[in-house]
């Protein structure tokens, strides 16, 4: 080598400069990583370190109008597993199945939940029974990744009494998870499945809390708590309803175990629903934490269809309860007055063309005024009235009274009633020559192409009970919504109410439903049953007190045969409500 001092020091200077450049470059690289990109890497490091364990929040409490609890949360336990991979989850689950009973379906369900949200603990038991929890707690040490935590569980103190309107909750399904409206939901979370729980899901849903556990590189839990401060779950504001739980219980008790049907009671001026019950009902508490298969099969095979809400989903011919609509349309058009008679007296039937239309009273009613015809529900009178109105006007009138629209009650899955908008409906259905004007006769007594929900009939009667404004039924208190449907003069309105009061009196069709000291006004109905000609459906829709209505009740009894049976139930509900209301009044004064 050339070892001259000058050469050496030149190379030393070169080496020094080179080293300086190299180290400055290295430091710059570290500066970029550690200082400039610190935020990004710090976040990544936290993500590495922490696994989120969701803390389920309770759902909003649902109260009745007096502050009684309809739906609340009670302590429950959920069991889940934190796993780094689906395979390790499967392995842990099969080890677990040696300790607690785990069906293969449960294992598959857990693995599916894991696949949907791999960063969350996969739920094994959404609502673990206490014995399972205690067994698992004993084996805690063998399963460090097991997450056992309290999970508030929905409870309905009145069980099947309130199921018809409150619905139930359950785990969100995979189909639901794919929907846009539920995009913030995660697999394993609870969601309202029916009734108020579904309708007010966004209000009832609590804000999930978060606990952080520390895991190592293989995803095993290293530290359970204190890794980062927990985020407490937040329960939402309670939901206040118009329901009168005492009345609801009473209404349910009237149906007992044997009667199937539906009832809705509401305040005519606000539409506030006091009670809503579909019989038979089901126990929503048994649905929490997974519906037992046996129970589910039983509910689905029961011919009385407990899961089918007969208040808002069942559609039935309104029968004679519709005669008030026919009357109102005629009065509105000035075709008749309340005291006007029809040309043909009732002799038990009416000949129209080649067909003979029967009155329900074979003996005949004789010559009646409109008011009397309502009291006695004379079919012959209304056949003629319908003919006078004419098909076109009858259909138009029905539409303006809202018989083709849903009531708008705040419950999901309300069925839309069937009511033809125009005569073209018949053309389409039967062909232009396939039907005759005789359909008017059927329509005018609430039969024919007219199927109404119980709730929609109650809505119509709320207009009769007040000044012609129909109130949209409302379970949860918000803003009462009323639309004018009846354009009648006050005397006409009063006249109709007197006639309806006559129904529930010694003179009328529901004389057995008289309440001492209260005038109940309403209309019975006996609907022909398409399934079974011998077992008619029974209707009663009415309100009380007739002079100053405080409650509208619609009662429908499947295969109830006689309208007065429905009227008796309605009458009991009304008297219970009005007595309670009177007592309340005295209390406030005292």
């Amino acid at each position: 080598m050339s070892f001259h001092p000058n050469d050496i020091s030149r190379r030393a200077r070169g080496a020094g400069a080179g080293l300086a450049v190299i180290f400055v470059a290295l430091l710059a690289a570290f500066f970029r990583t550690q200082v400039l990109r610190n935020t990004q890497y710090a976040l990544q490091s936290e993500e590495n370190r922490l696994r989120e364990v969701p803390l389920p929040a309770g759902r909003g409490i649902i109260y009745d109008r007096a502050g009684q609890i309809i739906a609340e949360n009670v302590p429950g336990y959920s069991v889940s597993l934190l796993s780094p991979t689906a395979d390790s989850l499967r392995a842990s689950l099969s080890r677990l199945s040696g300790i607690v009973q785990l069906a293969p379906e449960q294992i598959e369900a857990s693995v599916r939940r894991y696949r949907r949200a791999p960063n969350r603990p996969a739920v094994i038991f959404a609502d673990a029974p206490f014995d399972v929890v205690s067994v698992l707690e004993e084996h805690r040490i063998d399963f460090p990744d097991l997450v056992i935590q309290s999970a508030p569980k929905r409870y309905y103190p009145d069980g099947q009494v309130v199921a018809s309107f409150v619905g139930y909750v359950g785990e969100i399904t995979e189909a639901e998870l794919l929907r846009k409206e539920f995009e913030v939901y995660k697999a394993g979370q609870q969601i309202g499945k029916g009734g108020l729980e579904r309708e007010y899901e966004s209000k009832l849903r609590g804000q999930e809390g978060m606990r952080f556990v520390e895991v190592d590189a293989r995803g095993r839990v290293v530290r359970d708590a204190g890794a980062r401060a927990d985020l407490a779950p937040k329960a939402p504001e309670p939901l206040y309803t118009n329901i009168d739980l005492d009345l609801q219980r009473y209404a349910a008790s009237l149906f007992g175990d044997s009667i199937q049907g539906a009832v809705i009671a509401m305040e005519p001026r606000t539409g506030g629903v006091l009670a809503l019950y579909s019989a038979p009902s089901y126990d929503p508490n048994r649905f929490i934490g997974g519906i037992p298969q046996e129970y589910w099969r039983q509910l689905n095979t029961d011919p009385r269809r407990p899961l089918y809400n007969k208040v808002i989903q069942g559609k039935y011919p309104p029968a004679s309860t519709f005669k008030l609509a026919t009357s109102a349309i005629a009065l509105n058009r000035g075709i008749v007055g309340l005291d006007d008679h029809m040309p043909v007296s009732c002799t038990g039937g009416y000949q129209y063309g080649s067909r003979y239309f029967r009155c329900w009273e074979k003996k005949g009613h004789g010559n009646l005024s409109l008011a009397r015809a309502i009291e006695l529900s004379c079919d012959v009178y209304f056949y003629q009235l319908g003919l006078k109105i004419g098909l076109k006007n009858l259909l138009a009138g029905g539409i303006s009274l809202g018989f083709d629209k849903r009531s708008g009650i705040d419950l999901p899955n309300e069925q839309r009633p069937t009511f033809p908008a125009t005569a073209e409906y018949y053309d389409k259905r039967y062909g232009p020559r396939g039907w005759s004007n005789a359909v008017v006769l059927n329509l005018s007594i609430g039969q024919g192409e007219n199927d109404q929900t119980v709730v929609n009939m109650a809505k119509f009667y709320s207009a009769l009970a007040t000044d012609g404004y129909a109130a949209t039924p409302e379970i949860v208190r918000s803003n009462p919504e009323r639309t004018r449907v009846l354009d009648l003069s006050p005397p006409q309105m009063a006249g109709l109410r007197v006639a309806m009061a006559g129904v529930v009196s010694g003179r009328g069709t529901a004389g057995s439903a008289v309440i001492q000291g209260v005038v109940l006004a309403g209309k019975t109905g006996t609907a022909q049953n398409a399934q079974n000609r011998n077992l008619d459906h029974a209707w009663f829709v009415g309100f009380a007190p007739a002079e100053e209505p405080k409650i509208v009740v619609a009662v429908f009894l499947e295969f109830g045969e006689h309208g007065y049976l429905a009227a008796r139930i309605a009458s009991k509900i009304v008297s219970r409500h009005l007595k309670a209301a009177t007592t309340e009044l005295i209390q406030t004064e005292g």
């Binding site: 080598m1 070892f3 050469d7 190379r11 030393a12 080496a15 990583t33 550690q34 590495n48 190592d216």
Partner: protein, 419 residues
């Protein structure tokens, strides 16, 4: 100067720097063992402390031995280390993350050490001897055959293990010492040109640009015609052959190189190490997460955290401040060693000092660069930091020799960090 004086005239800055680095290193090895999940790194700091003590003793002995003795010993130790490498090929075993690398001399199941670490020292000595033999530095490619042979013999044995990282270290040492011996940098570039061709061959455009530059360099340097032509032909050949060469690599080797270029293509596999290392260092921030408190390390996200990735632990826990401190100490160590080489009494000593400095530099660059994905993962240790006895001993042996050279050298006075 009397022998007594010579003992006192130690190069204190060098000693202090090397000790500081070693203590810093042991602290980090200790921290690497402090995890939430028990790892092999637990408690190894104690043995590292023993190795340090041994290393310092070796340095002490080396600093008491004359450079002439060392020069006299060069041939036997070089031959001995080659022999050990050959034996290792047959009796070698792998360890840790580099389990497939048969780098450990193992007899009767007992791992005696890594001969490659010893070879690093002996190759430096041998190269120094060869390069200092002539007054004039090699001027042509042909002149380079002797030093090339000195490196090639152990290099081939090490690549057969196969230990790519140590192989890189040898090449670094080779080029560093050639530079110090006065070989023109232009010639060095020409020597390296086939390798550069190989690297740039992945893109025809880069390679074409490089090829034009090479022609210019050849014209500028004016080597012998045959040499110039063969250089150009070699580059051309490699450029053309590169795709075939790539095909001939085992899939896992190709994968490793691809992951180096883009770790995110294999987050769970080969890219995992380097991504976790970057996350650890990056999350350390300016001041670090605190000694022993790095969560990436505690939860075993870092691979080989007490050996190859010790610097990631340092980056995570000590932050940019700690990184700066470590790198500054390393820079001082290298500058001081270069200073020693500059003032050395004879060319052999000078070459030896520079050889050690280059060896350290390559290790630092490759290891630290690896933790930031600036270099491919090659399992090369960080001097004074990575846990491991052989390398600790080798490093301190080098320190001892440099100390001796320093005290024999001109102006070898105790002094300031006069660098």
């Amino acid at each position: 100067m009397s022998a007594l004086n010579r003992r006192i005239v130690a190069d204190y800055p060098l000693v202090v720097i090397a000790l500081l680095l070693s203590l810093y290193g042991i602290a980090m090895v200790y921290s690497a063992g402090e995890t939430d999940v028990r790892t092999v790194a637990a408690g190894v700091w104690k043995s590292q402390l023993v190795w340090l003590t041994l290393g310092v003793s070796v340095a002490l002995i080396a600093s008491r031995s004359s450079v002439r003795l060392l020069e006299w010993l060069t041939w036997p130790v070089y031959a001995g280390s080659l022999a050990l490498l050959v034996v290792t090929l047959f009796f070698g075993s792998g360890a840790g993350t580099a389990a497939s690398v048969k780098g450990w001399l193992t007899i009767g199941g007992i791992r005696l050490g890594q001969p490659a670490e010893l070879a690093k020292v002996t190759v430096v000595l041998m190269l120094a001897k060869v390069l200092s033999a002539n007054r004039n530095p090699p001027k042509s490619l042909l002149d380079l055959w002797r030093p090339a042979l000195v490196v090639a013999a152990p290099w081939l044995l090490i690549m057969a293990q196969p230990d790519l990282g140590t192989g890189i270290a040898f090449i670094g040492i080779f080029f560093g010492m050639l530079f110090w011996s006065g070989v023109s940098p232009l010639l060095l570039i020409l020597v390296a040109s086939p390798a550069i061709s190989l690297i740039l061959a992945f893109s025809s455009w880069y390679w074409a640009a490089w090829f034009c530059l090479l022609i210019a360099l050849v014209i500028l340097y004016k080597p012998y015609i045959t040499e110039g032509v063969s250089l150009v032909m070699a580059n051309l050949g490699i450029g053309v052959m590169a795709p075939t060469l790539w095909e001939s690599l085992a899939p896992y080797q190709q994968h490793r190189l691809l992951v180096f270029l883009n770790p995110s293509i294999d987050i769970r596999g080969a890219g995992w190490h380097v991504i976790q290392s970057q996350v650890a260092i990056g999350s350390g921030g300016f001041f670090g997460k605190g000694f022993t408190l790095g969560s990436q390390k505690r939860l075993a996200f870092l691979p080989a955290q007490h050996t190859d990735f010790i610097f990631a632990v340092l980056g995570e826990e000590m932050g940019f401040i700690g990184v700066t401190l470590a790198l500054t100490l390393f820079l001082f160590l290298l500058l001081r060693t270069v200073k020693v080489a500059e003032r050395a009494n004879d060319s052999f000593s000078s070459m030896v000092a520079v050889g050690f400095a280059t060896g350290w530099l390559v290790h630092i660059l490759v290891n630290v660069g690896m933790t930031l994905n600036l270099m491919p993962i090659t399992g090369i240790p960080l001097p004074f930091f990575s846990y491991g006895g052989s390398f600790m001993l080798a490093s301190w042996l080098a320190v001892g020799i440099v100390l001796r050279i320093s005290s024999e050298g001109r102006g070898g006075r105790p002094g300031t960090l006069g660098i």
